[in-house]
Amino acid sequence: MAGRRLSGRALRRAAVSLVVFVAIWELGARSGPLFGFKLPWLGDLPHPSAVVLIWARMATEAAYWYSWLASFWRVLGGFAAAMVLGIPLGLALAASRTFRGTVFPVFEVIRPIPPLAWVPAAIIVWPTQELAITFITFLGAFFTIVINVLGGVRSLDTRFVQAARSLGASNADVFRRIILPATVPSIVVGAAVGIGITWEVVVAAEMISGASKVGGKGAGLGHLIWASYLGGDYNQIVVGMVSIGIAGYLCSSAVRRLGTWLTSWQTTR
């Protein structure tokens, strides 16, 4: 939905709906003391107003921002590794039939295993917890990127390649002038999906592996949520959820913007 201009009415309606949403949440969460009985489900939620107060206090503490930093680093590391390894693998799978015939079935068998099922194995193999979490994050994005790159190359109109060949293009020319530009849009799509998955995964990995604090300061936003739950500090849970939502959204829109810039010929046409 990014980039589309919203009309004034749409903005007004969005504001109305969000205000109503928060109001129902606030009333529902306070229903116990207000009406004398708890509404089902809503009655157990933390109050939005209390969450905002807690958030304002936490925003002045360094530990909160170190949590952001820790999660950001893990996402960035896993995502970068997935791009660096996934794009060449996808291209190689598309380029060579023998390679694809050999590797792709194995890839397809491993792919359906959810990334989180790898958590124990990752903790066993990697020397530090940090590397284990980054590895799980990497797995989350890796498969999506490879599949998208492969699909992108294979959807390429073979007539382009044939035309270039008949005009005397070498393998390298075909790769650089035709295959690579034709795959960029799929790489961008894969990256946009992949960065979303990495945020999903990093939260889970931090919760399950019980991430240790980085330099004794902050252990990541997923850890913040889990620690708040264990400590019974329910308002902080919501702060953590909202923070991760914002962080994920920022990353996704950055990737999408970069992608639009990289594939500018698609939008101008």
Binding site: T102, A117, V119, W126, W199, Y234
Partner: protein, 272 residues
């Protein structure tokens, strides 16, 4: 039969065998022959296979124990309930979001605010709100599938060429008829793409939810086997999850193909 025979004559089955042989060989060699540093702590190929097919498994879980199938059944049931709920609620909501601008402008903002929050971040809240061990796990699985299904259905409705709707209305179709004969079939390809993704994320979040809070199920098996240092069982759990995840997505794909035979025909004839 003819297709199978042609497949066997081509190179792909043999390449596939080579691929698996290389993969399994590398696993076996790295863990059990070369004993690479750190990697050798992983369960080896032979240890896993022995445990998996043993009638009397060391750690209590193999193809011949009833408990193994109990865990599978619990996980499958949770995914099944969550997936059906997500489809039953997500598809109508998506149709409404795509079909009516009023609904979209009022409801979609809330949806878009909630959507970037990762499913796993919902774990503690759902543990607080829903009592018991079963409901939170199903809720988490549901919510993951629900967002994907709804969003894809909405995009599917929006992808329909407006002229089809206008043509139908012009020929005297009522709103119900337009919905039934134009909007739903038109959105079906997107809906099934959504369901494909939804079943995948459902398994993803089920495993996470079970690892954190389950008392049964495959994610729980993996997590407790790690805690109890029963490493071969971890790998058995992983392989089982991969197999079942693959089978469930194949079932969804098959349903899609059966429901959209008109589309298969259209693709086969080049859209004419």
């Amino acid at each position: 039969m003819a297709r199978a025979a042609r497949w066997l004559r081509g190179p792909s089955p043999y390449l596939m065998l080579v691929g698996f042989a290389l993969f399994l060989g590398a696993w076996y060699a790295a863990v059990e022959v070369w004993k690479l540093p750190r990697v050798q702590k992983l369960p080896g190929l032979t240890a896993v296979v022995q445990e998996w097919v043993s009638r009397n498994p060391t750690y209590g879980l193999s193809l011949f124990t009833a408990e193994y199938y109990d865990h599978i059944w619990v996980s499958v049931r949770r995914v099944g309930i969550a997936f059906l709920l997500a489809t039953g609620l997500g598809v109508p909501l998506g149709l409404a979001l795509g079909w009516s601008r009023d609904v979209r402008e009022y409801v979609f903002p809330v949806f878009e605010v909630l959507r970037p929050v990762p499913i796993l971040a919902w774990v503690p809240i759902s543990l607080i709100v829903f009592k018991g061990a079963e409901t939170p796990v199903v809720f988490l699985t549901f919510i993951a599938a629900f967002f994907v299904t709804t969003l894809n259905t909405m995009l599917g409705v929006q992808s329909i060429d407006r002229t089809y709707v206008r043509a139908a209305v012009c020929l005297g179709a009522s709103r119900i008829q337009v919905l039934r004969d134009v909007v739903i079939p038109g959105a079906l390809p997107f809906i099934f793409t959504g369901l494909q993704i939804a079943i995948g994320v459902a398994w993803f979040s089920l495993v996470a939810a079970e690892m954190v809070s389950g008392e049964y199920g495959l994610g729980y098996v993996i997590n407790t086997s790690y805690a109890k240092i029963q490493y071969p069982t971890i790998v058995i759990g992983m392989i089982t999850l991969g197999l079942i995840g693959y089978v469930t997505s194949a079932i969804v794909r098959l349903c899609g193909r059966l429901l959209m035979q008109w589309r298969e025909r259209e693709l086969a004839t080049g859209g004419r």
